[in-house]
């Protein structure tokens, strides 16, 4: 009888937890891209051009597999195109394009510029059918209050194909409003693990750049698991030259060691006392909020953040915001917003179920 109850509680707790992890980020939609798109099978680099005339193309509904929309049994290349108008774009924040799940490989062009892609096109084909597409929009890619054209090149090996699952649209993370200094954007990135990479003196000029936040699978590192380092140099603005400050690094998959100007300032396991890190297996879901010790920041000059990340399997890297520096006041507001998430049932689940696994 006792076991039965226990299982019931665990089940209820599981449902609650699933409900909560679904609303992890506070994404607001700017432009929806669901509905009718222009569609053609085949492959031609000219179709990326925003001026290409697609008026005699077929139409297809997004999201949805093309097999259910008249292209049963079709495998291979196809292109999706859509024109859309934007209104006012939110300022000082990062805008994302979400395209849900694409089967198998994609490359996205916004107004003719290459935005990003997942998987690998033939001949050395690698599927990414299971990867959620979320691409960071660089400044000047999206035209404000104007017509824009998005073109998506898709390759499907076999079985279902296309932009198969939503959501599709442009979004921004409202939690960026809690940042006094937004550090999302291009960071330096290198796979592997070398101790010296934490040093502010290390020369990372040869390193590749990567969008932060974004799962590295969305940034050309298909299927990469293991160690990698992120580095960024920044200066504090005038209005932040005094007072207690916090470093927010959003969510990282799976484990991180964070260094500021060469000194260790924390990792996911330090978040246990806050309740942000709950138990083994929860690493990827903990909001990284590290207090910056007094005297560590160079308030008037250059600072270097170096983050060592280890990803065990599947999606990896700094994949969700907000990324940047928060004042004590914003830190408290941000904490309060999410603090209520953890109910009695979460506690029960962590205590009696998660630890048992």
């Amino acid at each position: 009888m006792k076991t039965k109850h226990y299982k019931f509680f665990a089940f209820v707790a599981l449902i609650l937890i699933l409900g909560i992890s679904a609303q992890a980020e506070d994404l607001r939609k700017i432009v929806s891209l669901s509905g009718n798109w222009k569609f053609s099978i085949g492959d031609d680099s000219k179709w990326a051009n925003p001026l290409f005339d697609d008026s005699d193309w077929d139409q297809i509904s997004v999201p949805g597999q093309w097999e259910n929309q008249g292209y049963k049994d079709y495998n291979g290349y196809a292109w999706y195109r859509k024109s859309f108008k934007t209104g006012d774009l939110p300022a000082n924040t990062t805008i994302f394009l979400q395209l849900g799940r694409i089967d198998d490989v994609d490359m996205v062009y916004l107004n003719g510029k290459e935005l990003g892609g997942c998987g690998k096109f033939p001949p050395n084909y690698i599927t990414a059918y299971n990867q959620t597409r979320k691409y960071t929009i660089p400044a000047d890619f999206l035209k404000e209050n104007d017509e824009n054209v998005i073109a998506v090149r898709v390759y499907d090996s076999y079985l279902e194909g296309g932009i198969v699952e939503g959501p599709a649209g442009f979004y921004y993370d409202e939690d960026n409003d809690f940042l006094n200094l937004n550090l999302s954007g291009k960071w330096k990135f290198h796979t592997g693990d070398i101790k010296g990479w934490k040093s502010p003196d290390f020369n990372d000029q040869e390193w590749k750049t990567i969008n932060v936040p974004s799962a590295w699978e969305n940034e050309g590192y298909n299927d990469y698991d293991g160690y990698a380092w992120y580095r960024l140099k920044f200066n504090l603005p005038q209005n932040l030259t005094n007072g207690e400050l916090y470093l927010s690094l959003g969510k990282i998959d799976d484990v991180d060691n964070v260094y500021l100007n060469g000194k260790f300032i924390g990792n996911v396991y330090d978040l246990k006392k806050d309740g942000e890190y709950r138990s083994y297996g929860w690493e990827y879901n903990a909001r990284r909020l590290y207090k910056i010790r007094e005297g560590l920041l160079n308030r008037n000059g250059e600072n270097t953040i170096a983050i060592r990340v280890y990803d065990g399997q599947m999606q990896g890297g700094i994949y969700e915001g907000p990324i940047g520096i928060m004042s004590a006041e914003n830190y408290r507001r941000y904490k309060n917003k999410y603090h209520t998430d953890r109910s009695f049932w979460d506690y029960m689940f962590d205590k009696f179920y998660r630890n048992d696994n």
């Binding site: 031609d44 079709y74 495998n75 291979g76 033939p122 001949p123 076999y158």
Partner: protein, 352 residues
């Protein structure tokens, strides 16, 4: 009582699921779901027992021969007890209306082995003649008819060489006739013809200068089980050389490989152009296959790979993990991307 009723319902469900399963797989292999009858060829054919290569030729005069009803075992038509070789011949007219359409000859079920010729050109064969005798009495014969062998609006001769080992023999049953595919594929290079074939595996076979002169000939598309490789599972290679005509527009070309059982890698002039399924990384490693056999292959050919007005070589590496094997269903050939897009738009309109 409730339990009993439930179990009956489950049984019914199970049986209908089974029926569903069988009809589905039957469809996938027969390759005739899109075929429509253009001209029935049931009825009287000229017939003679014996074997003579001259009988293949349209010039041979068969007016002295017996007439026989098709389909029906020859035992029922005065040849009771006869086993061995025999020939069937029939003249047909193919209207030019059918030009540009995919045409197929359905010769039904033949007991035991056959070879079919149109105007002296071999268009298909199932089973194995002695000395490597191999019956195929339970296989339906559906042969693609290459357009270049057809004399449109004129007389065309079908000659069928049959070998029967024991019991009933001949073209015994089936919906004998000339059939057309629903959507026509207007190939720039039609590859539905004889290819070179060799079981086994060797990656050197992908090279265009590989010597395949010692290989056997096989029809594409058709499962290899009907062409002398009855119980063969495992690796095999297909090779075909062809001239790529210069009169082509400069756009992208697509290689249609139809359906292949189970997985494949396709090379043109030694370069990989497409693949379906995952080949084992090292010999002897476990192979996992699922629905690859049912996937329709359309591989986009990288620009500049096809040599215009010169010899090009396609090499196809196939791994069959069980059951039916090979390039078993068309269309197989090369078309421009523009025509390929039209083809799919047409398929969509026809309700596909």
């Amino acid at each position: 009582m409730t339990t009993l009723r439930n179990s009956t319902r489950i049984k019914t469900l199970f049986i209908s699921a089974l029926i569903c399963l069988f009809t589905q797989s039957g469809k996938a292999y027969a390759g005739e779901e899109n075929l429509v009858l253009l001209q029935s060829l049931k009825g009287n054919w000229q017939f003679s027992i014996g074997i003579n290569e001259a009988w293949i030729s349209p010039k041979f005069n068969d007016s002295e021969w017996e007439t026989i009803k098709v389909p029906s075992p020859w035992e029922n038509q005065g040849f009771n007890g006869y086993n061995g070789y025999a020939f069937y011949r029939k003249k047909i007219t193919v209207p030019s209306l059918y030009k540009g359409r995919m045409l197929y000859l359905n010769m039904g079920y033949i007991d035991d082995v056959d070879e079919v010729y149109l105007n002296g050109h071999k268009i298909g064969s199932t089973g194995g003649f002695p000395p490597d005798y191999n019956t195929a009495y339970n296989a339906e014969r559906i042969y693609y008819v290459p357009e270049q062998y057809i004399n449109f609006d004129g007389s065309n001769l079908i000659a069928v060489k049959v070998y029967d080992s024991t019991q009933e023999g001949g073209i015994v049953s089936g919906e004998i006739g000339l059939y057309g595919g629903k959507a026509s594929v207007n190939f720039d290079v039609n590859l539905q013809t004889t290819w070179k074939f060799q079981p086994g595996d060797d990656l050197r076979r992908k090279e265009s200068d590989f010597d395949d002169s010692g290989w056997v000939e096989i029809f594409v598309p058709a499962k290899w089980e009907d062409q002398g490789y009855r119980d063969y599972d495992g690796y095999a290679w297909y090779r075909k050389s062809f001239i790529f005509p210069t009169n082509n527009e400069n756009g992208k070309m697509v290689l249609l490989m139809g359906k292949i059982d189970d997985i494949d890698q396709v090379y043109i002039n030694g370069t990989l152009v497409g693949s379906t399924g995952n080949f084992p990384s090292r010999p002897g490693a476990e192979v996992y296959t699922g629905q690859e056999f049912d996937a329709f292959r359309g591989y986009y050919i990288p620009d500049g790979l096809l040599k215009k007005n010169q010899k090009n070589v396609i090499a196809v590496r196939v791994l069959d993990t069980g059951g039916v094997g090979g390039i078993y269903e068309g269309p197989v050939g090369i078309i421009t991307q523009t025509k390929y897009i039209e083809y799919w738009r047409k398929m969509k309109k026809s309700g596909n």
